[in-house]
């Protein structure tokens, strides 16, 4: 065979191979990549702003907030940044407004239907019993007391709630996992804008090649929560033995400070704060829920949570704030979707427990007039 024929056939076969790979890539692009990776590629192509796709939006003072109108299967955020239906910033004078503050267990990350979160179900129970109550879900995924404090200071208090249910403690266990604990959480949090910028020629190549889009989608992957707000970067790579050591050594001073200021501000605003301690799952959850890192660190997490719960009880006494504490095994394991989050049935149990225990005179103010 002549040399030039070899070159031609090699080139022909190569082009055929590239053609086949490209066609297959185009056909299977959505099936062989994850949504997060495709988002990153879209940002690189200049077709989207990264924050349009993100459920979190960085904020210069509150660190981050729920992205208004962001929706996916487990997140339905309204135009003001709260989970659930639209609300008015100004309260109805004849309706008791209850605001719930907390992290993902208040946002109710295990509940798909926004009308079935414990916050929403609480409204339903009260209204069914003849009260006129509006509840607002102020849950922010991954939020600690620091984010809740800044959210309350800059945003939530202007909703003029009558009652504020404060459900904090679980996410505040995380800063205790690390050495060099700092009460301001500066060793745990950072400000970090997300950015994906294309280099020369990248955008043009990606415009045409779906094979490269697949490669980029996996390479860029997903800007992680830790990229935006968390330190140390990969928090779930810390050794469980180190977590136990740090949890025993660190005291939740930051949590106590934040919670104290939050409660004082709520009281000063004329609202009634209520502290809510929720149960987490028992270790039996790991028979059905598989996360090796959480499983191995779970006993340390439980110790940290007990420390935070002690702070909540202390703050309740100090500021004379009503405390609702759900017993540890009051939610069956079958109602947990992981070690901390519940499903609709678990959310119903929380809502009912709060309804039964919330002092009803907290709801009288407006009915008297």
């Amino acid at each position: 065979m002549k040399k030039e024929h070899i070159v031609i056939w090699t080139l022909f076969l190569f082009l055929m191979f590239v053609f086949c790979v490209e066609m297959t890539s185009r056909w299977l692009y959505k099936d062989v990549t994850l949504e997060a990776g495709r988002k990153s590629v879209e940002v690189l192509l200049g077709n989207a702003d990264i924050y349009n796709y993100s459920s979190f939006t960085p904020h210069p003072y509150m660190l981050y907030e729920n992205t208004p109108l962001y929706t996916n299967s487990y997140q339905q955020i309204n135009s003001l940044g709260y989970r659930g239906h639209e609300i008015s910033e100004t309260p109805d004078k004849k309706t008791i407004r209850i605001l719930t503050l907390g992290g993902s267990t208040t946002f109710d990350g295990g509940v798909e239907n926004p009308a079935k979160t414990w916050t929403a179900q609480l409204e339903g129970i009260f209204n069914h019993k003849g009260y006129k109550v509006e509840t607002i879900n102020g849950g922010i995924n991954a939020a600690t007391s620091a984010e809740m404090l800044s959210h309350y200071m800059f945003k939530y208090r202007y909703l003029s709630p009558d009652v504020v249910i404060v459900n904090l403690g679980w996410n505040d266990t995380a800063p205790l996992y690390f050495k060099d604990y700092d009460p301001t959480y500066s060793k745990f949090r950072r400000w970090g804008g997300l950015s994906i910028a294309s280099r020369v020629g990248e955008k043009e190549i990606l415009q045409y090649s779906y094979f490269l889009r697949i490669i980029y989608a996996w390479w860029l992957g997903n800007p992680k929560l830790s990229d935006l707000i968390l330190l140390p970067a990969e928090w779930n790579t810390v050794k469980p033995s180190m977590i136990m050591q740090n949890v025993k050594h660190n005291e939740p001073i930051g949590f106590e400070r934040n919670l104290g200021v939050l409660l004082q501000t709520i009281i000063t605003d004329g609202a009634k704060p209520v502290l809510f301690i929720e149960p987490i799952a028992t270790a039996d959850i790991f028979k059905t829920y598989h996360d090796d890192w959480v499983k191995s660190a779970f006993s340390a997490m439980e110790i940290a949570y007990e420390k935070d719960k002690a702070v909540v009880r202390k703050m309740s006494k100090k500021y004379h704030v009503f405390l609702i504490e759900m017993p540890k095994s009051s939610i069956p394991i079958s109602d947990f979707v992981d070690h901390a989050h519940v499903n609709e049935a678990g959310a119903a149990l929380k809502a009912n427990f709060i309804y039964q225990n919330l002092p009803k005179n907290y709801l009288r103010k407006k009915y008297a007039s």
């Binding site: 062989v32 990549t33 487990y74 997300l194 979707v337």
Partner: protein, 48 residues
């Protein structure tokens, strides 16, 4: 001519075809596994 060419490079061509199927097949299976084993919270965390 093509037959000669293919015959002489049959191992290389088989390698290319094998890589093609392993690449796309592997990704399909991997994505399927990842999306079917995610907890709700992982879906939320992924939405950042």
């Amino acid at each position: 001519m093509l037959r000669d060419f293919v015959y002489k490079r049959k191992k290389f061509i088989a390698l290319l075809i094998g890589a093609y199927f392993i690449f796309f097949g592997g990704l399909l299976l991997y994505v399927d596994k990842l999306t079917n084993t995610k907890t709700p919270i992982e879906i939320i965390i992924d939405s950042i």
